[in-house]
C-alpha cells in the first residue's frame, strides 16, 4: 500500500459527517411546513394501549379491537354516552310474549361507508358467519343466545339453520334459544354488528384492511399501521352523521403507560387509555380537571383451584383465607385510586338486582380475623402444621404489591407463609386453564353487558372461564331457571340466589372492583363516565376547533 492511496480514504469520514449533518438538518427543517398542530385539524388523538389484532369483528377478542370497531360500526342497538341502550340501525323492535322472538325494523337511511343501504340480510349474513365453524370466531358469547347457534358452532348444524331471517330488506326476525332479557344489550357488541358481504366475498380475509373495510358506523377506516396507529375518518353516509362533531380519529398504539402519559403532557394526545400507576398521586395533583376516574364493571379477584388439595372440599379453609384479607388496606394503601372493596362477585349498581354479600361483610376486620383463625384451625391447620400454599399472579407491579400485602395479612392472621410465584401473563393463563399446578391465582373479570348474568355465567360448570373448576349442580340449575324466566323480578331472584350460593362455597376471593382511569384534555367535550368504560368518538367534540364543536 503506497502513501498516495491513503489520503483518498479519509474523505470517507468527511463524507459521513456531511451526510449526518444534511440528514439532521433535513429532519429538523421538516418540522416547519408540516401538518399543523393537533388542535387545528379537528382530529381526535386517543391512546389505545396495545393495538387491535384485527378489525374483522369475528376474529378478535381484544378489547382494543372492540373499541375501534365501536367507532366503525353499529349494531341493531347502540349505547349512548352514559352506556344506556338506545336504538341503533333498528329504529324499533317487537318482542313476542314468550320472549323468544324479536322482530327488528331497520331504519331506511342506514348506509354503509360506500353508500350501500344496510339491510336485514347484512345482519343475517354476519350472524351466520359468526356462528360458522369455518370462520373460527373468537368471541361468540353474543350469538349463542340465538336459536341453533351452539349446535352450528359445534359443527352439528349448518350455518343456514341459525334463527335469523331477513323477512324483507328492512325487517329482521331473530329467534332465541331461551328468553334472554339482556338480548338487546348483546346486540350492541361489535361482534353483532353487520358485515358487508360483498367485500368479504371480494377480498376474503383481507376485507378488514384499510381500503377494503366497509363499515356502517360514524367512522370509516382510512389507515392502520401495526404497532403504531389506526386512523379513522368521518363516514359521510352514516345516518346520524349530522351529529358527529369530530372529522378524524387517530388511535395511537402506546402499550407503555408512561410513554402515553408523556405524549399527553406534550399535547400530542387528547385522551389516554390509562394512567401510570406509580405516579398516580402526582397525576391527580397535576391534572385535577383532566383525570377521569369511574367505577368500572370489573372485579379483581383471587381464585382457588377447588379440584385439587388443599382447597378441594374445604370451604372453611377458603373462607378463612378470604376473611383474613383486609380489603380496605388494599384499596386505601396500595391501589389508592378510589377502588371499592369487594364482598360480592357481581358489582353493585345493576338495576333490579340486589347483590348477595359474603357472610362476614358486616363484621369488623378484627372479628373477621378471629373467626378466620377458628376456621383455619378447624380445617386442621395451626402453628405446628401451617398451610403450604402457592399464590400465582402475572408479572406486574400492582399485582406484586397486592400479593405481598396479602401474604403478610395471612402471615399475621393465620401464621402461614404463602409462596409467591409471578408468571408471565400467558404462562399464568395456561396454568389457570389447565388447573394442575394452580392453588391460589390472580385474575379479573369484566362484564360485557350491564347484567348480573354477565358475571354469574363465569362460574357455570361448563364455562371456559371457570378457572376454579368449581362445579355445582344447584348453581347451574338456578342459572338455567333464570335463563328460562320471562318475569324480570323472578329472574333476578334466581340470579341473586345463585350468587348467594357462590359466596357460601367461595371458589374465589373477591378483592376489589376496578376503576377506569383516563386523562381527558379539557379541549374535549362530551366525555361521560360509564361502567363499561366505553367512550365512542362520535359523542365527543373539540369545541375550540373550527368545525369540531
Amino acid at each position: 500500500m503506497t502513501e498516495s492511496q491513503n489520503p483518498r480514504r479519509l474523505p470517507l469520514f468527511a463524507l459521513l459527517a456531511g451526510v449526518v449533518v444534511v440528514v439532521v438538518v433535513a429532519v429538523l427543517l421538516q418540522r416547519d411546513g408540516e401538518a399543523p398542530d393537533v388542535a387545528e385539524q379537528n382530529t381526535l388523538h386517543r391512546g389505545i394501549g396495545s393495538d387491535p389484532d384485527t378489525l374483522d369483528a369475528h376474529k378478535t377478542n381484544a378489547l382494543q379491537s372492540f373499541t375501534v370497531l365501536n367507532d366503525l360500526g353499529e349494531g341493531l342497538m347502540a349505547d349512548d354516552r352514559h352506556g344506556a341502550l338506545i336504538p341503533g340501525v333498528a329504529e324499533s323492535h317487537v318482542v313476542s310474549e314468550d320472549g323468544l322472538r324479536y322482530t327488528f325494523k331497520l331504519r331506511e337511511d342506514a348506509r354503509w361507508s360506500n353508500g350501500d343501504p344496510v339491510t336485514a340480510g347484512d345482519f343475517a349474513y354476519a350472524y351466520r358467519r359468526l356462528a360458522d365453524p369455518a370462520t373460527a370466531a373468537l368471541y361468540v358469547d353474543s350469538v349463542t343466545a340465538i336459536a341453533n347457534a351452539k349446535a352450528i358452532i359445534a359443527g352439528e348444524l349448518e350455518p343456514d339453520s341459525l334463527g335469523v331471517t331477513a323477512i324483507d330488506p328492512l325487517t329482521l326476525e331473530i329467534s332465541l334459544e331461551q328468553p334472554t332479557p339482556y338480548f338487546l344489550a348483546l346486540l350492541v357488541h361489535p361482534s353483532m354488528h353487520p358485515i358487508h358481504e360483498s367485500s368479504v366475498k371480494a377480498h376474503g380475509d383481507a376485507f378488514a384492511r384499510p381500503g377494503n373495510l366497509v363499515t356502517n358506523g360514524a367512522y370509516r377506516l382510512t389507515g392502520l399501521r401495526p404497532g403504531a396507529i389506526v386512523e379513522l375518518e368521518r363516514n359521510d353516509y352514516y345516518w346520524d352523521n349530522a351529529n358527529t362533531a369530530i372529522d378524524r380519529v387517530h388511535y395511537h398504539v402506546l402499550p407503555e403507560p408512561m410513554s402515553e402519559y408523556n405524549r399527553f403532557r406534550s399535547g400530542e394526545l387528547h385522551i389516554t387509555d390509562s394512567v401510570p400507576t406509580d405516579i398516580f398521586e402526582q397525576v391527580r395533583e397535576d391534572f385535577p380537571d383532566e383525570l377521569k376516574v369511574a367505577t368500572s364493571f370489573t372485579i379483581y379477584y383471587y381464585g382457588y383451584n377447588v379440584i385439587r388439595p388443599p382447597f378441594k372440599d374445604s370451604p372453611e379453609l377458603r373462607q378463612a383465607l378470604s376473611m383474613a384479607i383486609d380489603r380496605d388496606v388494599l384499596v386505601e394503601k396500595i391501589t389508592r385510586r378510589g377502588e371499592q372493596p369487594a364482598y360480592s362477585w357481581v358489582p353493585p349498581g345493576i338495576e333490579g338486582y340486589e347483590s348477595a354479600q359474603l357472610s362476614f361483610a358486616g363484621l369488623s376486620q378484627q372479628e373477621r380475623t378471629e373467626q378466620a383463625r377458628r376456621l383455619y384451625q378447624a380445617a386442621g391447620y395451626g402453628e405446628d402444621n401451617p398451610l403450604e400454599v402457592e399464590l400465582r399472579y402475572n408479572t406486574s407491579d400492582t399485582h406484586q404489591r397486592i400479593a405481598l400485602a396479602i401474604q403478610a395479612m395471612w402471615r399475621e392472621a393465620l401464621g402461614f407463609e404463602a409462596t409467591l410465584i409471578n408468571e408471565e401473563f400467558r404462562v399464568l393463563l395456561a396454568n389457570m386453564q389447565a388447573r394442575e399446578v394452580t392453588q391460589v391465582f390472580r385474575s379479573s373479570w369484566k362484564g360485557a353487558y350491564v347484567d348480573a348474568h354477565s358475571f354469574l355465567t363465569a362460574f357455570e360448570s361448563d364455562s371456559p372461564s371457570n378457572l376454579a373448576g368449581w362445579v355445582s349442580e344447584e348453581y347451574d340449575d338456578l342459572m338455567q331457571r333464570a335463563a328460562t324466566q320471562t318475569d324480570p323480578g323472578m329472574r333476578s331472584r334466581y340470579l341473586e340466589e345463585a350468587e348467594r350460593l357462590l359466596l357460601i362455597e367461595q371458589p374465589l376471593i373477591p378483592l376489589y372492583f376496578y376503576v377506569s382511569k383516563h386523562l381527558v384534555s379539557t379541549e374535549v367535550a362530551g366525555w361521560a363516565d360509564n361502567a363499561l368504560d366505553r367512550h365512542h368518538s362520535r359523542y365527543l367534540s373539540l369545541p375550540g376547533v373550527a368545525g369540531g364543536g
Binding site: 429538523l28 393537533v38 396495545s50 401495526p226 395511537h252 405524549r263 406534550s266 399535547g267 400530542e268 400467558r426
Partner: protein, 306 residues
C-alpha cells in the same frame, strides 16, 4: 475475496436452518397460546380455531409446513395481526428500524470517533478527562433512563420536539436517534481512544514524528487505519443490534420497528412473527459479520494475504 464470501454464505445455510428449528422449538414449548385470554374459549370454539390455524396438527408436520413456506419466501400469516402476513409486517417495520439505526450509527461514528481521536491526541489533559467522563456517563446510564429524560426535557418541558412517532409534525426522528446513538457514542469514543493511543505510542509513529511529519499527516497516513481495527470488531455486532431495532427506544417513542414487534410478538405468542424476525436477525448478523471480515482485509493487508 469473492470465493471467500460465497463460501461463507453457503456455510450460513445450515446455521440458518438450525436457527429456524431452534426458534420453532423454543416458541412452541413456551406455555400459553396466541388465542388465550382471561375470558376463556368454549371447547368447540377452541377446536375450530386450532383447525383454522393448523394448530391441531402434530408439531413436526407444522414445522415442515412452516419450513416449506419459508423456502418459498412465505413466512405465513401473523397470529396476532390476523389480516397481515409476517412478510408484510417485516417489510413495513424494517425500513423504520433501518432508518433509525442507520442514522444513530452514523451519528455515533462521527461523534464517537471524533471524540476518541480528540482525547487520544491530548492524553491525560482536561479535554481527555472531560471526553472520557462524558463517555463513561453515556455507558453507565441505560437507554431506558436516557430516552424518557430526553422526552421530558425536549418534548414535555421545552416543547421543541414531539414525544412520539405518531405525532403530527416533523422532528420525530431526532429524539429516538439521539437516544439510540448516545451509548454507542460512548463506547466508540472509548474504544477509538484506547486503540489510537496504542498506535500513537508505537515505534513507527515515533519514527514518522522524527521525520518531521505533522500530527495531522501522521493520523491520516499512519495511525488512523490500524487504530480502526478494534473499532471495526465492535461495529459488527453493534450495527446488527442497532439496525434490528432497539426494543427500549421503540417502546418509549411508540415506534413500529422490528424490536418492538419482536417483544410484543413473543408476549402475544405470535409464533410466525417471532420466527420470521429470528430468521431475519440471524441472517443479518451472519451478513454483517461477513462484511466486517471483508473490511478487515481492506484495513489490514496481513489478513488479505492469508
Amino acid at each position: 475475496m469473492l470465493r471467500f464470501a460465497l463460501g461463507r454464505l453457503l456455510a450460513a445455510i445450515p446455521t440458518l436452518l438450525f436457527v429456524v428449528l431452534l426458534a420453532f422449538t423454543l416458541v412452541r414449548i413456551a406455555p400459553g397460546g396466541p388465542f388465550d385470554a382471561e375470558r376463556g374459549l368454549p371447547p368447540e370454539v377452541e377446536a375450530n380455531i386450532a383447525e383454522a390455524y393448523h394448530l391441531d396438527e402434530p408439531l413436526p408436520k407444522q414445522f415442515f409446513r412452516y419450513l416449506g413456506g419459508v423456502l418459498r419466501g412465505d413466512f405465513g400469516p401473523s397470529f396476532r395481526y390476523r389480516n397481515y402476513s409476517v412478510t408484510e409486517i417485516i417489510a413495513d417495520s424494517f425500513p423504520t428500524s433501518l432508518l433509525l439505526g442507520g442514522l444513530a450509527m452514523l451519528l455515533a461514528l462521527v461523534i464517537g470517533l471524533g471524540a476518541g481521536v480528540l482525547a487520544a491526541l491530548r492524553p491525560n489533559t482536561f479535554t481527555d478527562r472531560a471526553v472520557m467522563a462524558v463517555a463513561m456517563t453515556g455507558i453507565s446510564i441505560p437507554i431506558f433512563v436516557v430516552a424518557p429524560l430526553l422526552v421530558l426535557l425536549f418534548a414535555v418541558s421545552l416543547g421543541w420536539l414531539p414525544a412520539g412517532w405518531t405525532a403530527q409534525g416533523g422532528g420525530r426522528l431526532v429524539l429516538p436517534v439521539l437516544a439510540l446513538a448516545l451509548p454507542q457514542v460512548a463506547y466508540l469514543a472509548r474504544i477509538s481512544r484506547a486503540s489510537l493511543l496504542d498506535v500513537l505510542g508505537s515505534d513507527y509513529v515515533r519514527t514518522a514524528r522524527a521525520q518531521g511529519l505533522t500530527t495531522a499527516a501522521i493520523l491520516r497516513v499512519h495511525a488512523l487505519k490500524p487504530a480502526l481495527i478494534p473499532v471495526l470488531s465492535y461495529l459488527g455486532p453493534a450495527v446488527a443490534a442497532v439496525l434490528t431495532g432497539s426494543v427500549v427506544v421503540e417502546q418509549v417513542f411508540g415506534i413500529p420497528g422490528l424490536g418492538r414487534h419482536f417483544v410484543t410478538g413473543a408476549l402475544n405468542r405470535d409464533y410466525t412473527l417471532v420466527m420470521g424476525l429470528v430468521i431475519l436477525y440471524a441472517a443479518l448478523i451472519i451478513l454483517l459479520n461477513l462484511l466486517v471480515d471483508i473490511l478487515y482485509g481492506v484495513l489490514d493487508p496481513r489478513v488479505r494475504t492469508q
